[in-house]
């Protein structure tokens, strides 16, 4: 008899357990995480479904989902899990693995935002919001959302066209370099 729930991918569960330091195999599908998830209605897979698919090592289903990029890291699931599983931490580990294994991302905006934000920190030591915003817009192709808000924000001093000094950019660049080496060597 064929088993429809049989995936041939490598041990995703073990990899996520190692990276997130939380016991993903302990999930017994109570769905408390999904019930309280504020983003649940927008997700293609609910957090509890992600947990189950991780246990089954269904790599392409999980790493190719929108849900892992929609998680807002609000930690409601982690706080409430009766098994003490850091579900938000599992979502972080899944995003990193999706990028590392070059999974086909159904929605690249989260990844592009991360790159733009961290690129700004790497360059200036702190986030230079106008520059980060411009980078994100170019990368995502989403050029027009919120552009109408800029004049008002500038008038209220809430966004500046020039980066501020401080933040010791040189020291930060070194830290970025070594952190990336650490991630490669793990």
């Amino acid at each position: 008899m064929s088993n429809l729930l049989q995936w041939n991918d490598a041990d995703l569960a073990g990899e996520i357990q190692r990276r997130s330091g939380t016991k993903v195999l302990a999930c017994f599908q109570c769905h408390k995480c999904s019930t309280g998830c504020p983003i649940g209605p927008d997700m293609d897979l609910l957090p509890s479904q992600i947990m189950r698919l991780v246990q089954l090592s269904a790599e392409s289903e999980v790493l190719g989902s929108r849900a892992i990029w929609l998680c807002a890291s609000c930690e409601a699931c982690t706080t409430r899990c009766p098994q003490g599983i850091d579900i938000a931490g599992v979502m972080d580990a899944l995003r990193m693995l999706a990028v590392e294994r070059k999974a086909a991302l159904p929605d690249g905006r989260g990844r592009q935002f991360n790159r733009s934000f961290l690129g700004s920190v790497r360059r200036h030591g702190r986030v230079f919001e106008a520059g980060m915003l411009a980078m994100y817009k170019l990368r995502s192709g989403d050029l027009f959302t919120d552009v109408g808000k800029l004049p008002q924000m500038m008038a209220k001093g809430k966004i500046s066209l020039f980066p501020r000094r401080g933040g010791n950019a040189k020291e930060v660049r070194e830290v970025f370099k070594r952190a990336e080496e650490e991630e490669r060597n793990q």
């Binding site: 706080t79 702190r126 001093g157 933040g167």
Partner: protein
């Protein structure tokens, strides 16, 4: 009381009003703040969702700088607060994390620098009584929905200075200022946080839910303690309205702005003018109440206009009575202003 202050990137731009109001109220209450020299970004959500080593190393860089100052750290941004606390938690609980962070930063760090949020400092370090004694312009009867958001209370083993599901410190602070914190069920529901940049539709949906519930509960404004909560409920309030239907204009103020007003600091110094949803009518009604209290001490002031709630008039009356008496007694004893 002295703290090494970690402002964070938001407080330099979109949340400059949180920065100014935090410094102003701390100055007025005798809490000394010294900025961590050359502080760097904490990495926020983009770091912890893309590079686990970086997510600990960036906060640790700041904690190492703070350690040389010998003062506990205070932050105002809830996200910076959570990242600094998480880094401490990891360094303290996982020797491998500590070694990795030390390798990356090239300096030792033992995870021992305490990190506090400004709300924690105000309510638990300085104390409600000292704040109450310093109130010069009570926010008489102002109905406030206290919105804690996610990261001030979650996860509890990392950040907790209050209950993760039903926190009350902000409510206690607002009550001490003479305001009336409303009961509402979304105190710790998420606003969508950094999805604000990438998925506006999600943030509009969540914002609309929060704003409607605050209105239903009878709140005239929302108090927040996080720059992302503020942006998502204030700057994005128009988006929420456009996508999900009409909502009354609800000003969203930082806790330090409301505290500053009650301490008698000018709205301009607190950056109230930089809110997207104007708080002007709120201030005008508060001002009217204040002047009527001053002109006729003992007489009950009219309630601030807004949605009515059963029992609120009775409560307001008692509150105003207490406050006017307490206020004049404090003034007589010279207890207003700096303690």
């Amino acid at each position: 009381m002295k703290y090494a202050f970690f402002p964070g990137c938001s407080l330099e731009s979109t949340a400059w009003d949180f920065d100014h109001s935090t410094r102003a109220v701390c100055g007025a209450l005798g809490i000394e703040l010294e900025d961590i020299p050359n502080w760097v970004c904490c990495g926020s959500t983009p770091a912890h969702t893309s590079n686990a080593s970086l997510a600990v190393a960036l906060p640790v860089m700041n904690l190492q700088k703070a350690q040389r100052m010998n003062d506990p750290v205070m932050t105002a941004c809830a996200s910076c607060y959570a990242r600094l606390r998480t880094a401490n938690y990891k360094v303290n609980n996982d020797p491998a994390e500590r070694k990795r962070a030390e390798r990356i930063t090239g300096k030792p760090y033992d995870g021992s620098v305490p990190v506090h949020h400004v709300l924690d400092v105000l309510v638990n370090h300085l104390g409600i009584d000292s704040i109450r004694a310093a109130v010069r312009k009570p926010l008489a009867g102002l109905r406030v929905a206290c919105y804690y958001g996610c990261l001030l209370t979650r996860p509890p083993e990392v950040v907790a200075f209050d209950d993760p599901e039903h926190p009350t410190v902000m409510d206690n602070l607002m009550a001490a200022l003479g305001a009336e914190p409303v009961d509402w069920p979304y105190k710790t529901e998420c606003c969508g946080a950094s999805l604000s940049m990438t998925h506006v539709n999600v943030v509009s949906r969540l914002g609309h839910r929060l704003l409607s519930m605050a209105q239903q509960a009878g709140a005239q404004c929302i108090a927040v303690a996080c720059p992302l909560c503020q942006v998502n409920l204030d700057l994005r309030q128009a988006d929420a309205r456009a996508a999900h239907g009409e909502l009354p204009q609800t000003p969203v103020l930082y806790i330090t702005q409301l505290l500053g007003l009650a301490l008698g600091i000018s709205p301009k110094e607190l950056g109230i003018q930089s809110l997207s949803v104007s708080a002007e009518s709120l201030l005008t009604s508060l001002g009217k109440i204040m002047s009527s209290i001053k002109s006729e001490p003992g007489r009950v002031a009219p309630a601030v206009p807004g949605p009515t709630r059963p029992g609120s008039d009775e409560k307001t009356r008692h509150l105003l009575h207490d406050l006017t008496n307490a206020d004049s007694a404090d003034m007589a004893a010279g207890a207003g202003g700096k303690p």
